[in-house]
Amino acid sequence: MTAMVHQETVSHAVTIRYFAWVREHIGHSEEHVVLPAAVGTIADLITWLSNRGSNYAEAFKHPPAIRAALDRVHVKHDAVIGEAREIGFFPPVTGG
């Protein structure tokens, strides 16, 4: 069976949530954004967000310190955002 590979080029809307000092640097805990088609991975999104203002640049200035979740599941920065509806950014966890 063969199938045409459909290349997803339509930008899509996501909710981005920020926690702990990532939230404090950015200044809000949640926002709804339409991702440009060029933003494919978490790493792309961090780069894109960093160019939105000094508050974002400060929050994301050291990417290895940032943890991410796609639809509330831990992912690494090379994860493809795909059809995810919610993306979370936060520091390494410190509960317990």
Binding site: A20, R72, P92, V93, T94, G95
Partner: protein, 155 residues
């Protein structure tokens, strides 16, 4: 297996939680509990309070996953996890893990495993406030990653 997860602002009663887990199960021969508490100082710095933030929705999912993994690895009859959020003061309880099993080694290991993974995976963040009013987010500790790693990398 009974598995109950709570994320709450209120304190917990350890004796009541253990009684609830063991009341209807006479196969339980061992109960291991861990209680994490707020310390009064961070090194030499006296603390006034601690605020715990979390990722609602993701936290509960991760805690269930942890308890499931503990159940998969050890022979457990029941697991109870309670984690508090909001403003706490030194001496307050933060977290309770109760692991019940037929025998003590599964109870000890189940409890220890659950705490080690909770420390590295459950989305909670602590902010300490000193008696001078200064606030600092607590840094993650490499020793916590090491503690989780000793159980293997597949959790």
């Amino acid at each position: 297996m009974t598995m109950t997860i709570s994320v709450q602002e209120n304190d917990f009663d350890v004796a009541a939680e253990v009684a609830a887990l063991t009341r209807d199960n006479n196969d339980i021969g061992a109960v291991a509990t861990f209680i994490g508490k707020v310390r009064g100082r961070d090194g030499e710095r006296p603390l006034a309070s601690m605020t715990l933030e979390h990722y609602p929705g993701m936290t509960e999912t991760e805690l269930h996953r942890l308890a499931d993994e503990a159940k998969r690895r050890f022979s457990l009859s029941a697991v109870r996890i309670i984690h508090r959020v909001g403003a706490l003061i030194p001496g307050d309880n933060i977290v309770l893990v109760v692991a019940c099993a037929r025998h003590r080694q599964d109870a000890f290991d189940g409890c220890s495993f659950t705490m080690d993974y909770l420390k590295t995976r459950a989305p909670f963040w602590k902010k300490e406030v000193g008696v001078d009013g200064s606030g600092d987010w607590v840094d993650a500790r490499h020793s916590d990653d090491d503690a989780a790693t000793r159980w293997g990398n597949d959790a």
